[in-house]
Symmetry: C2
Subunit: 212 residues, 2 copies
């Protein structure tokens, strides 16, 4: 929801070109399916290639509006997708919502990413936001021709980091061309590739979160 500079929800869900409807100050979310409503700045700009050049204070204002003015109705979960790092966006979300159940932290396994993600863990600790868990993404790649497993971005870095920093670990999702294809064609992987091993891993991650 909060990738102000690069919203991906319209592409990921095949909703490009759709516009959110509004009334006075209110914004109505897009109903993707019976269980999923979404809002993205991507539904509010005329030209999808137009850049939004906003400084922090403008972003803070937009985030506050998005949280206050979207007519969500009853929700089981409100998931706010934030850009990487510890900048204005996650800070504004946590401060505006006031009462966040917890943060899910996604990383890739290599050290270069782990160095940064440790900062995100400490960011949550500073703000006393509970960490629901760490997901290790792009964790290993299996060659579709010969079956060889290649640890392109290495493997295990997220799991080790979670142990070191004493936060739950949720699972390792491998790097896969089908996940990229699913994203580009607007077909949620977990529905359209539901029989794959990777989809089962994703479901296990979700189950751990839902039971929380």
């Amino acid at each position: 929801m909060l990738y102000i500079h690069g919203p991906s929800i319209p592409t990921l869900l095949g909703l490009e070109g759709i516009r959110a409807e509004g009334e006075d100050d209110l914004v109505y979310p897009i109903e993707y399916s019976e269980g999923l409503k979404v809002v993205s700045i991507g539904f509010m700009i005329e030209d999808p290639t137009d850049s939004i050049i906003w400084r922090g204070p403008m972003k803070m204002k937009f985030i506050k509006q998005m949280i206050a003015n979207v007519v969500w109705g009853d929700l089981d979960y409100l998931i706010v997708d934030c850009p990487p790092g510890t900048g204005d966006e996650p800070l504004s979300v946590i401060q505006t919502l006031g009462n966040v159940t917890g943060a899910i932290i996604v990383t890739t396994p290599q050290k270069l990413a782990i160095v940064d993600v440790k900062k995100s863990v400490n960011f949550c600790k500073k703000l006393t936001t509970p960490i629901l868990g760490v997901i290790e993404n792009m964790s290993g790649f299996v060659c579709p021709k010969c079956g060889e497993r290649v640890e392109i971005f290495k493997s295990g870095g997220g799991e080790t980091m979670a142990k070191e920093m004493d936060v739950p670990f949720l699972g390792k999702i491998p790097l896969e061309a089908d996940i990229v294809e699913a994203g580009d064609t607007g077909k949620p992987f977990i529905y359209f590739y539901s029989q794959t091993q990777t989809s089962k891993i994703m479901e296990e991650v979700i189950n751990k979160l839902v039971k929380n």
Copy 2:
């Protein structure tokens, strides 16, 4: 230089734990080699896992200081590495420097990335910053066991986008485990893996930029 929330220069160059020296308001860059001096917020914080929770205005101030107060000496090139997107950081850099030779835009090939990178191209156009070119990163992967080429993040998206938006295209750098390993161990790929095909591609990209 300007990954305030997740500085990577210390890890990428094997300079972790090194601190930049200062005097009054001035900061001295770290001399990595005869031809390369670097500055990063990573050289200025005590604990590398500490998160820097700064809003936009603080970042703007820091960026201005970094540009004004670092004792660079004579330079052929000043390269400012910016986080993805069109937020405070690139805007502050362009506005503070005033006279930027140009921007180099790095993307991955898949549509999900291209959608965002088109915004970066338009961001530069709005600010009348010339675009020196587009680099397509993670462009194809060759299985080290069987030699099969797999387009995990697809291929050609950056090249097509550059044509469409009428900006120069600089080259396609493949996805490679050795690049990740080089980054994690602080060994610049182009020096330590100089005999590889991928290193040659990187040199071709550099040559195009130097001749510019």
